[in-house]
């Protein structure tokens, strides 16, 4: 452990390891596609891909092809996008709010998403016209709007970062209470169980149309973070210091937080509230690559993607014949990892 701490921080941002990113990501995706209840050999996966992408015409078992293409590959890609997106939002919020505990769910987003999802499933809001995902997205957007309004109203007398955090806590509590109220009042036991599973995160229902939403969202998130990486660096000594170094604090913070909220809401609406990715991955990556965002942003995106694909694999194979909620896996790994970071942080001070 002490070896990692004493690593010298490299002076210039050396970026050549970035070339490995697509390779590592590809390996993770292939592993996510290969491993499961039915083990599928890598050459079969590559043949299915070749058949699909270039009409290569390799002879492949039709069931294997179905599992690879319709089920596991889309699932692995969405897992990677969610992991990358959530890790990036954690990086952004921790940098902007100067708070080690900031994560994508800070701003009431997951609480709002669950309220939206529950309102659709339990109360039948929208009369079947809107699905669970749309309900979750609407709930997340509503909660975010409320938190922003509250933070804006509370900003007199405290710093903006503090106001956002406190408003987020208040918003999360409110929406969690609403969710609990609706479940207690209206849900059947079966509905309650279904909601519980959704809240803990599930990639089971994921198909290619989810990929079509997840990939652009993750790419937009990554692009915006990379575009603003120097501004994120400038927040190292706080918002005033960033402003004195030429960062237009309010517009930059507005854009970054809005994108963060959008990415989180899209991801949560697809796969539920997956905890700890956004909190732990950025901290772990800071220890490994330092806190300059030119390195931290790509490293966190990659690590988040690989971590969530790995967690998804574990969730499928840990208990034979049953798929565990992925949020359970990420928290089971994330909580001890976070405890370790806390202990190390205390040791440093």
């Amino acid at each position: 452990m002490s070896r990692v701490i004493s690593l010298p921080v490299p002076v210039a941002p050396r970026l050549h390891w970035l070339w490995l990113t697509p390779l590592v990501l590809a390996i993770a995706l292939v592993a996510g596609t290969a491993i499961g209840e039915t083990r599928i050999p890598v050459d079969t996966i590559l043949k299915v891909l070749a058949n699909r992408l270039w009409d290569a015409g390799y002879p492949v078992d039709r069931i294997d092809a179905g599992i690879v293409w319709s089920y596991r590959l889309s699932r692995a890609i969405v897992a990677a996008c969610c992991g990358a997106g959530l890790a990036l939002t954690g990086v952004v919020l921790q940098a902007l709010l100067r708070n080690a505990l900031a994560d994508p769910f800070l701003m009431g987003l997951s609480a709002g998403a669950s309220t939206g999802a529950v309102a659709v499933t339990v109360l039948g809001l929208g009369a079947g016209a809107i699905g669970l995902s749309a309900g979750a997205f609407a709930g997340a957007a509503l909660a975010f709007g409320l938190v922003v309004v509250l933070a804006h109203a509370a900003r007199r007398g405290m710093q903006a970062a503090g106001a956002i955090i406190l408003a987020g806590i208040a918003g999360a509590q409110l929406f969690n209470a609403l969710t609990a109220f609706m479940i207690a009042k209206s849900a059947s036991a079966e509905q309650a169980r279904g909601i519980l599973f959704w809240l803990m995160g599930s990639l089971s229902g994921v198909r290619w149309d989810d990929v079509a939403l997840a990939v652009p969202t993750a790419l937009v998130g990554l692009g915006v973070c990379l575009w603003h990486m120097r501004a994120l660096d400038a927040f190292t000594f706080g918002a005033d210091s960033a402003a004195s170094m030429g960062v237009a604090v309010r517009p930059v913070r507005g854009v970054l937080i809005a994108v963060t909220a959008l990415v989180t809401a899209v991801m949560v609406s697809m796969v539920g509230a997956i905890g700890f990715v956004g909190l732990v991955i950025p901290h772990a990556m800071r220890l490994l690559v330092g806190s300059r965002h030119a390195r931290l942003v790509p490293a966190s995106a990659l690590a988040g993607a690989v971590f969530l694909v790995g967690s998804d694999i574990l969730s499928r194979i840990l208990v034979p014949g049953q798929v565990l909620p992925i949020g359970v896996i990420t928290s089971l790994i994330g909580a001890p990892a976070f405890a370790l970071i806390l202990v190390r942080g205390a040791g440093k001070a």
Binding site: V11, R230, A234, G238, D240, M245, G246
Partner: protein
């Protein structure tokens, strides 16, 4: 470069922080701002740096209102070192100083060797080159303050605003920061608590409850009458036996 404050006023929650403050910072001078706690020194520096919009009045650089300039443009000519800006991030001295290049960089204008040169020069100016690879949290208070000043210098500012840079430092580090500030080839506005340190500056402005009550060379401004009125202390001026310069000696009011 000339920095002018015209009839500045600032308020927060209905309380007046600054009231009708006008002054001109002359190119090349070292200007000290003194005043009791809460007299508006930090607020005035924040207004001069453009971090805060004045409720009344206007700040101009070379005649142009600060409010019309982009943050990036301002940051290329005015740098501010705040009181005790801290971070829990793991970053090394060099990376902290490199932050000062932010106003010159963009996604389309990446880091170049020229930026490295400016960072090196800033580190040399504050004698922190040997510390370049040290991590922030291993530095002492005085070293951190030097790094902040180097970070500000990396912005290539024409005007450097310093908010009580010697606060919480031991006497040796106080003196070394002050002699560093006097050596720097830029215009400096420095908020100070130690009036004897202000005596060594070119001009002094005294703030009292948000008003600029005196402005001029230190020996004209820091008079016993002024110190009694503003700071409520009795002061005597005595000569330094070494170089004959004046030193202020303070006593509590009876």
């Amino acid at each position: 470069m000339k920095l002018t404050a015209e009839h500045l006023g600032a308020r927060i929650h209905g309380r007046t922080l600054l009231d009708n403050v006008s002054l001109t910072i002359r190119p090349g001078e070292t200007f000290a701002l003194v005043g009791p706690n809460g007299s508006g020194k930090s607020t005035l520096l924040r207004l001069l740096a453009g971090l805060r919009r004045p409720a009344r009045g206007c700040v101009r650089v070379d005649g142009r209102p600060l409010a019309h300039l982009k943050r990036r443009t301002i940051a290329r000519s005015i740098a501010l070192v705040e009181q005790q800006a801290e971070t829990s991030d793991r970053l090394c001295v060099r990376d902290a100083v490199a932050l000062g290049r932010t106003p010159f960089l963009s996604p389309l204008r990446p880091w170049t060797d020229e930026d490295d040169t400016h960072v090196d020069r800033a580190l040399d100016d504050v004698d922190m080159r040997p510390f370049a690879d040290r991590l922030w949290h291993t530095l002492s208070g005085g070293e951190r303050q030097r790094v902040h000043i180097a970070r500000a210098l990396a912005q290539q500012p024409r005007i450097l605003l310093l908010d009580e840079p010697t606060n919480h430092l031991d006497i040796q580090h106080q003196l070394s920061i002050l002699s560093l500030v006097r050596r720097l080839p830029v215009t400096v506005v420095i908020a100070l608590h130690d009036l004897n340190q202000a005596m060594a500056c070119d001009r002094v402005g005294v703030l009292d409850a948000g008003r600029l009550v005196a402005l001029g060379p230190p020996e004209d401004v820091l008079t016993p009458e002024r110190l009694w009125q503003t700071f409520r202390v009795q002061a005597d001026s005595i000569g330094d036996p070494q170089d004959g310069r004046r030193i202020l000696r303070f006593r509590q009011a009876p």
